[in-house]
Amino acid sequence: MYCLSEKQIDFILNDIRARGVEMESLQLNLHDHICCIIEQNLEENGDFESFYQKTIKTFYKNELWEIEEETLLLLTHKNYYAMKKIMILSGTFSAATMILGILFKFMHWPGASLFIILGIGTSSLIFLPLLYLLKSKDSQATKDKLILGLGILSGILLSLSILFKIMHWPFAIILGYSAVIILGLILLPIYFITGIKTQENKINTITISIVIIMICGLWLTLVRTPYGSRKKEITDTSSFLINEQIVSSQKRIYDSITKNDSLESNSKKLSKQIIRVCEKIKSSIILKETGMTKISTDFETKLNFISEANFRLPGTANKDVDSLLEFIKTYHLTLNVTPHKTKLPLSYQTNSEEKIPFFVGTNLIVLTQLQQTELIVMQNEM
């Protein structure tokens, strides 16, 4: 039995490191293993150097670090299977929820948007990134990885942009434009130039390039141009302004008629409160949209537009909404006595018979509903 000196033990460990084994636990394994073999098999006065070189050669085919490579392969292989499984599961899940979401949407069943959010969310945040991780392992060249990455990235951005758009969340258009720019101006040139060079890929490259152009084209066809958006904002805002003029001229007449009433009926009192709260809510919406309490006729030069943002008010204005709904409810009770008057066609209760929900939709819709409320109430009381 051979007795290894400390120097020899250090030499072996350093040699294992020098041969490219980097994992510390594997270094220790191999170190102890070789020391054991030498101690067991080398005679007491044997030649350490040549025996060591002979022994270490039996550990590998070409290089010692093959063992580390094999270890890492086994370790990542496990993740690989788990990732593959998650990818298939998330893909199936997102496809199923997408189909359900679309079905619910067209059938007008509740819960459609939840399914659609889940479907697009899972596919763009779990399925597509995993697809990239797994597919990029297969492709060796950096160029292929880049093309795959850019393609998947623009896919993620495009689907998120559509999700954000339908949910009226901010940055939808920016997401979409970034996707199209990446797809059309970065990915397409790289893909086309590298692909067209090789004879066997020519047809493939041309067809896929056409598909990419079509995807970009279809998306750009679908979205409104910046000019179109401005035009719509102008139309919306001026239509709101015209309504405002009608409301205010009606209000002048209404005020002059009711001014001399010595005995105000209950419904008349309520109508005035309704009008007051409506005005208050309108100005808080406009304040939030434009930073001003009122929109003037020169809104185009001042760039005070009503956007397509969904109606959402800060906490203080919510109190106004609540009191308006309460006033309308009481107002409707007084209307039961006088059947010739028009009820407000807006539902302020979830189980109400009226079909149009109040305070749901874009700011423009809510503003219009408030104007309609004012007009109906005034007509009723004149």
Binding site: I9, M23, L28, D32, T58, I67, E70, T71, L75, K78
Partner: protein
């Protein structure tokens, strides 16, 4: 006779797990020697196969390690974790079942005494 590496590849995990189940804790060199001994030199586990397998079993949580200093060098002892114990039973019975099936499939007549 030495068995082909393909044949050993699928059974190495089971061999290592079973050895660890029979011996409380073992280190790498000990495992290779024990296998050599028990199989009368018929099965020789290479270092290149053993250590990746041990690392993979460790990553799966089937074995745990403890280190011990032997003079100037460090020795890593492997022992079964509770999940490793159940896994060993599964793997051994799976392999036994597999061998029965292979016997039948390849029509190997076993000597009856």
């Amino acid at each position: 006779m030495n068995y082909s590496t393909e044949l050993l590849k699928g059974t190495l995990k089971t061999i290592v797990l079973k050895l660890l189940a029979d011996n409380k804790k073992m280190y790498g060199y000990e495992i290779t020697q024990r296998v050599k001994e028990l199989t009368l030199n018929k099965i020789q586990i290479t270092e290149g196969a053993l250590y990746p397998t041990l690392h993979s079993l460790e990553a799966d949580g089937f074995v745990t390690t403890e280190t011990e200093f032997i003079g100037k060098r460090v020795r890593k002892y492997y022992s079964l974790s509770p999940t490793g114990k159940t896994k060993t039973k599964e793997k051994v019975s799976e392999l036994a079942n597999f061998m029965e099936t292979m016997k039948f499939l390849l029509d190997i007549k076993t000597k009856t005494t």
